[in-house]
Symmetry: C2
Subunit: 202 residues, 2 copies
């Protein structure tokens, strides 16, 4: 059985990729995570695009392990902010990983933005890099609109203010499995399936 | 002599336009400011572009006074922020008019942005609207790069972190007259001169 590294320490992300592969009948791939890789060098994400960051992370993982590696980079793109926070989503307020501060800042910046201009999308770029240098990078998008206050406690990041198209709930009010099925991350990972299927030898 | 309203209460902006007109030999126009217009309705700036905001302000001024009116809207566009703060420059931190908080936030957001991607421009849209409905809107840009810390005490807003192209100083270290000659506002107002000259009957 081939192994593929998912460049994350997040057990939920590992589970998500394993579920997607199983659902597609791709049985020939064992997914391992970064917790199995001692002393992986965590480089800062300084790319100008989600794709650059996902590719850089996957390349670093291949260099460190010689395994085929999948990596992703995700964020919120807000129409009225010309697509920002984008690659700065996790540090929009200047404090890296402070979800509440980041979300509060986006709401404050959009105070005077009318409903018809509050469109946004969650975006995920996912990259697969093979030890032979073959690179595949794909993008998943999840369109919606930004509310004026937070609702719901599932999810993380900007989920509590993001209402997907065709939904009355925010993505923080959706069950994790529902979100997997619709989300930018799920879409990006499914877009990688043809390349993963080839890797698995199907 | 014709009169033209400059839609501002800022005496420095009035002086700047008067100086530019005098320097161009346009003597047939008396420039008046909003402090001469009691109870002018100040509308919030909710446009998606500098041009929309400048035009809206000039139209409001014409409606209130029946005078030809000039208005401008300015801001900082940062390449690594996809052109934002843009029209949100004065309220980027969520606190309207808090120059220090706005500047600090931009610096924090660009912490990991390397020097070669720190390009930015000050942009000014200036609009002239006549009582007969004729509208002219122009744009002035001032390219430069953003430093990593503030320098200088002239100017306001983002001046202390903006180093214009061809300069070693920030725009907050330049003398006001030098800044007038080079700045986005000066360029935009000079681009309005043909329309103002026509208005003055030259």
């Amino acid at each position: 059985m081939s192994r593929v590294l998912l460049a994350t320490r997040n057990a939920k992300k590992l589970g998500e990729l394993r579920r997607i592969l199983a659902a597609e009948g791709i049985g020939g791939l064992e997914v391992v995570g970064l917790s199995d890789v001692p002393e992986f060098p965590e480089a800062p994400e300084t790319g100008a695009t989600f794709e650059e960051n996902a590719l850089a992370k996957a390349r670093d993982a291949v260099a460190a392990t010689s395994l085929p590696a999948v990596a992703d980079d995700s964020g919120l793109t807000v129409d009225a902010l010309n697509g920002m926070p984008g690659v700065l989503s996790a540090r929009w307020s200047g404090r890296h990983g402070d979800d509440q501060a980041n979300l509060d800042l986006v709401l404050a910046q959009l105070t005077d933005t009318p409903d018809e201009r509050r469109g946004a999308a969650f975006v995920c770029a996912a990259a697969l890099v093979l030890p032979d240098g073959t690179e595949t990078v794909v993008r998943g998008e999840w369109r919606g609109a930004l509310l004026r206050e937070a609702r719901g406690s599932n999810g993380f990041g900007y989920d509590p203010i993001f209402r997907p198209e065709g939904e009355n709930r925010t993505s923080a009010e959706m069950a994790p499995a529902e979100k997997d099925a619709a989300s930018h991350r799920g879409r990006a990972l499914r877009a990688l399936l043809p390349a993963l299927r080839e890797l698995a030898g199907h």
